[in-house]
Amino acid sequence: MKSPVSTAIAIAVGIIVLLGYFLAFPGLDVIRSLLLEWAVILAAAATWIGAVNLLAAHGTKIGKRQPDAPYSLVLILAFGITLLAGIWDLVLHPEFSILDQIVRSIQFPVEASLMALLTVSLAYASIRLLRRRRNLFTITFFISTVLFLLMASGLVSLIDSNIIPPLVAALGRLPVAGARGILLGIALGSLTTGLRILTGTDRPYGS
């Protein structure tokens, strides 16, 4: 049986934060701010725990001389360098100019390149899609991909026709309709989860 104390605390905190959305009591806002500050601190601590776990996992790989140990070594080195740069910035440059330069000079090009490679891979996957699996869903997915690529490219504007603009506008509402359905599902799920946590039915905070 999970601890009733933790359950009571979770329910009380949830109710206080939820009431803050509907009631404008100054005292309630103070309590909410305090609780949220604690949550931020705990989140930062959790980030540190995740970082330590990451270092331990890759350190183990290096110690066992696994095949991907060099990548782990690079990761640890990058982590150390970034950490030192952050500390250095925290002490000498509170505007974090060094970290900004690292992101703009290293992280951004690397991630952009990966995105470009992803473009090639996705194009090749689209070619192989119908060969690998040819059914109604794959055919529909293939047609949708081609159609929305065409719409996003602006090539349809080259077609001088009165039918094209309303047709493109109508087709452009299809993703919105699907996304709205997804959002409704997310909202209902979030509401149900929140109520279950507030009533103590779900206890994701452990025992």
């Binding site: 959305y21 806002d29 909410r32 701010s33 949220l36 500050e37 949550a39 931020v40 989140a43 930062a44 980030t47 440059h93 509170p94 505007e95 974090f96 100019s97 970290l99 900004d100 330069q101 690292i102 992101v103 703009r104 992280q107 951004f108 690397v110 991630e111 952009a112 990966l114 995105m115 470009a116 473009t119 090639v120 891979s121 194009a123 090749y124 689209s126 070619i127 192989r128 899609l129 119908l130 060969r131 293939f142 081609v146 690529l149 996003a152 490219s153 602006g154 090539l155 504007s157 080259l158 603009p165 506008a169 993703p175 919105v176 699907g178 996304a179 709205r180 997804i182 959002l183 997310i186």
Partner: protein
């Protein structure tokens, strides 16, 4: 707990029981009880006798050609049947008495007297009371010419003296060697008339025809020796004349007691002639009464039988006497198996052979009864030996939770036998189909084991070739517009309404309006997001809005700097105020995700305590002066590439914004469909998505920016991608079709 065994059903009963709890037979002999002392009269003929005894008597009466039976042939149940007694032998006995009295007419008449106490008489059974009355009647009314002798008178002694002188001679040695050290009951002082009996025993030992107590028995009980043949009785009594083995059933031979004679207090009784064998019934001597009074103290598991109370030595007593007087080596084989009586109770009460079983622990060999006797045997005697059952009951449990206990119920043999279960070898009996499948499977495996010819690997695989072609085409589509500067594709002509709404909202901002800009995208999509947001940011700068930048992504502040650097790089005058912190303040990274954003809504300065390089707070910059809460912001601009971060902003920021503070969203093309859903609910006041949206916005501002510059390459890459995907799919399908056709042709 002391128990006694029922003489009828051979089952154990508590010692205090008067009757068997199983068959209601009487357990304690009447002769052994104090109330019954001196009242050992037999029942009258046919009165209250069990049916089987009556039949047995009739059988004996009408079967003169049957083999002679010794007293030992008497079945045990017959001896245990206390109140029942056939009357033939009694009638003969009475006739003998009458004959003797007629011949001794000069003897004085004996006055009958039964010294039974009133209390004892009340407890007597009906048959015994009738017998006593009959005996009294016979004695009170003697036949004519028979003198009546008063008890205790001198005439009685004279009568007995005459009788002794006439019929008996003293034997050379006593019948029984009673060891006084064995705890035998010391007989009381005998009357004078009884002193002559040892002489009578000696006579019987010498082989003279001396009458014995067996003369009072019926022929079937006396082992074939009629009561009128004193020689046979004497032989039986002394054992000097061996009885033929054929005359003794096996069951009697198996009842040999194992206890020595010293442990079995045997009462020595004088043998009386047939004519006076009923004397103890008429008037028992005091010592005999006292002896009977002590009888309950000795183990007497079987009730007394009135049939055997006429000084007739029972089977057990006979065996005891034989064992004591004759060593085993002198006895014949059939008699050697006989031992002393199992207990003294049988000697007194005429016990059965079962008593010996009880005392010897049930070690007797199984009996071989004659068929006629087996038919007469009670059913209970056929049941398993009580001794054996008792032995099994006393077995000690060796294993299990009852280990160490005795008398537990034995387990079933199948359960009690702990052994390794047999191993069954399941041999599959395959059917024809299974055999066929087996052969097919073996053929498949055999084919797999054969090496297949491998194709010569080319310099480049088709997959890598395809990827290389796609990469080259896309790269060319990106590079060519920048290199050549050709603008062969028109700008987007469609103007979405949300983009127009965004332009309207920014245009409505007052001068020096405070705008909160959220940069929530990753470096991988920075190219798209910068192209999409550059026009909007430039519009804000053109309006002279003070910008406060914050991000919940660690890379957000750096990407924001990059974005503003790109925008301010444009040669515009109004950009100058956004380089020195006058109208632009980067509050940095906001930790905690949604919680941190919520905290920022409540306490902006506390949630984002950014510092400048000179050590001052970022909130002290000119761009953030007068900003203490979320209400101080006139517009909120969210630049995001992810629907999750956009939804977080819409959930945490939008509800707390001022009513007239619009929330605008610049999103990536992939997040636009989701975030567009908030447009209908007016949670988002304006939206522009992707590079196309940024280009459109720049067109609205008529101020080319990064979006317009990348539009040609973007459209060309999209066109190439479409062509590659469509053509590649077509080619791939054709190749597959050709391969299948070739395979079919080869097949």
């Amino acid at each position: 707990m002391e128990e006694i065994r029922c003489p009828m059903c051979s089952k154990l009963n508590p010692a205090e029981n008067e009757e068997c709890q199983y068959c209601n037979a009487r357990l304690k002999p009447l002769v052994a009880s104090a109330e019954g002392a001196g009242e050992q009269a037999g029942p009258q003929e046919g009165e209250d006798a069990p049916e089987w005894i009556n039949r047995l008597a009739e059988f004996e009466d009408h079967s003169g050609d049957e083999p002679a039976k010794t007293a030992a042939d008497q079945p045990a149940p017959a001896a245990d049947t206390g109140p029942a007694e056939p009357g033939s032998w009694l009638a003969r006995l009475q006739k003998d008495v009458e004959k003797y009295e007629e011949s001794k007419a000069d003897l004085p008449a004996v006055e009958p007297e039964f010294p039974a106490s009133p209390a004892a008489g009340d407890s007597l059974p009906e048959w015994l009371r009738n017998v006593r009355q009959a005996a009294n009647r016979d004695l009170v009314e003697p036949p004519l010419g028979v003198p009546v002798i008063e008890p205790g008178s001198s005439e009685e002694d004279a009568w007995l003296e005459k009788l002794r002188n006439q019929k008996f001679e003293p034997p050379e040695k006593p019948i029984l060697d009673v060891n006084p050290d064995a705890g035998l009951v010391e007989p009381p002082a005998e009357p004078d008339w009884l002193h002559a009996f040892p002489d009578r025993k000696e006579e019987s030992v010498e082989g003279e025809p001396a009458a014995s107590a067996a003369s009072g028995l019926p022929e079937w009980l006396s082992g074939g020796a009629p009561s009128t043949e004193p020689e046979a009785i004497s032989d039986w009594n002394t054992g000097s004349q061996p009885v033929q083995p054929a005359e003794i059933p096996d069951w009697l031979g198996d009842e040999t007691p194992s206890h020595p004679a010293e442990e079995q207090p045997v009462e020595e009784k004088p043998a009386l002639p047939p004519g006076i064998s009923t004397e103890p019934e008429v008037d028992k001597p005091d010592w005999l009464i006292e002896l009977e009074a002590h009888a309950p103290q000795a183990p007497a598991p079987f009730p007394a039988s009135p049939m055997l109370n006429f000084d007739q030595p029972p089977a057990g007593e006979v065996a005891a006497r034989v064992e004591n007087n004759f060593p085993a080596e002198e006895l014949p084989d059939w008699l050697a198996s006989f031992g002393p009586a199992a207990s003294q109770a049988p000697a007194v009460d005429g016990t059965s052979a079962q008593a010996g079983d009880e005392h010897t622990g049930g070690e007797a060999a199984p009996a071989d009864l004659p068929s006629w006797l087996r038919a007469m045997r009670p059913i209970e005697t056929v049941a398993p030996s009580p001794a054996a059952r008792r032995e099994s009951d006393q077995r000690e449990e060796k294993t299990g939770p009852l280990a160490g206990l005795r008398g537990t119920l034995p387990a079933e043999p199948s359960l009690a036998s702990f052994q390794r279960p047999p191993s069954y070898i399941a041999r599959l009996q395959p059917t024809e189909n299974q055999e066929r499948y087996k052969s097919i499977f073996e053929e498949l495996i055999a084919n797999e084991k054969e090496p297949q010819p491998t194709r010569a690997a080319g310099l480049i695989s088709p997959q890598r070739l395809w990827r290389l072609i796609i990469a080259v085409l896309l790269l060319a589509a990106v590079v060519v517009p920048f290199v050549t500067g050709i603008s062969f594709l028109p700008l987007p002509g469609l103007l979405p309404q949300e983009t127009l709404d965004m332009q309207t909202a920014i245009d409505a901002l007052p001068a020096n309006a405070m705008v909160l800009v959220g940069v929530e995208y990753e470096p991988s999509l920075a190219g798209e997001m910068e192209s999409a947001a550059a026009g909007v940011v430039d519009h804000l700068m053109k309006k002279g809005a003070r910008l406060a930048v914050i991000s919940t992504s660690p890379t957000g502040p750096a990407l924001a700097d990059r974005l503003f650097d790109q925008v301010t790089a444009l040669p515009e005058d109004y950009h100058a105020s956004y380089t020195g912190g006058e109208k632009l303040a980067n509050l940095g990274y906001l930790a905690g995700g949604p919680a941190g954003l919520m905290d920022f809504v409540l306490r902006p300065q506390a949630a984002a305590p950014a510092m400048l390089d000179d050590g001052t707070s970022a909130w002290q910059q000119p761009a953030l002066r007068g900003v203490n809460s979320l209400d101080d912001f006139s517009l909120f601009l969210l630049i995001t590439d992810d629907q999750q971060s956009g939804r977080t902003w819409l959930e945490q920021i939008q509800p707390r914004t001022a009513a007239n503070a619009p929330l605008l969203v610049v999103s990536s093309a992939q997040a636009a469909p989701v975030l567009s859903s908030y447009l209908d609910g007016r949670q988002v006041d304006g939206l522009t998505a992707g590079l196309a949206g940024g280009t459109i916005y720049e067109q609205l501002l008529q101020h080319p920016g990064p979006g317009t510059g990348r539009w040609q390459a973007f459209v060309l890459v999209m066109a190439v991608s479409l062509v590659v995907i469509i053509l590649g799919t077509a080619v791939d399908l054709i190749m597959e079709y050709l391969a299948a056709r070739k395979a079919n042709a080869e097949a």
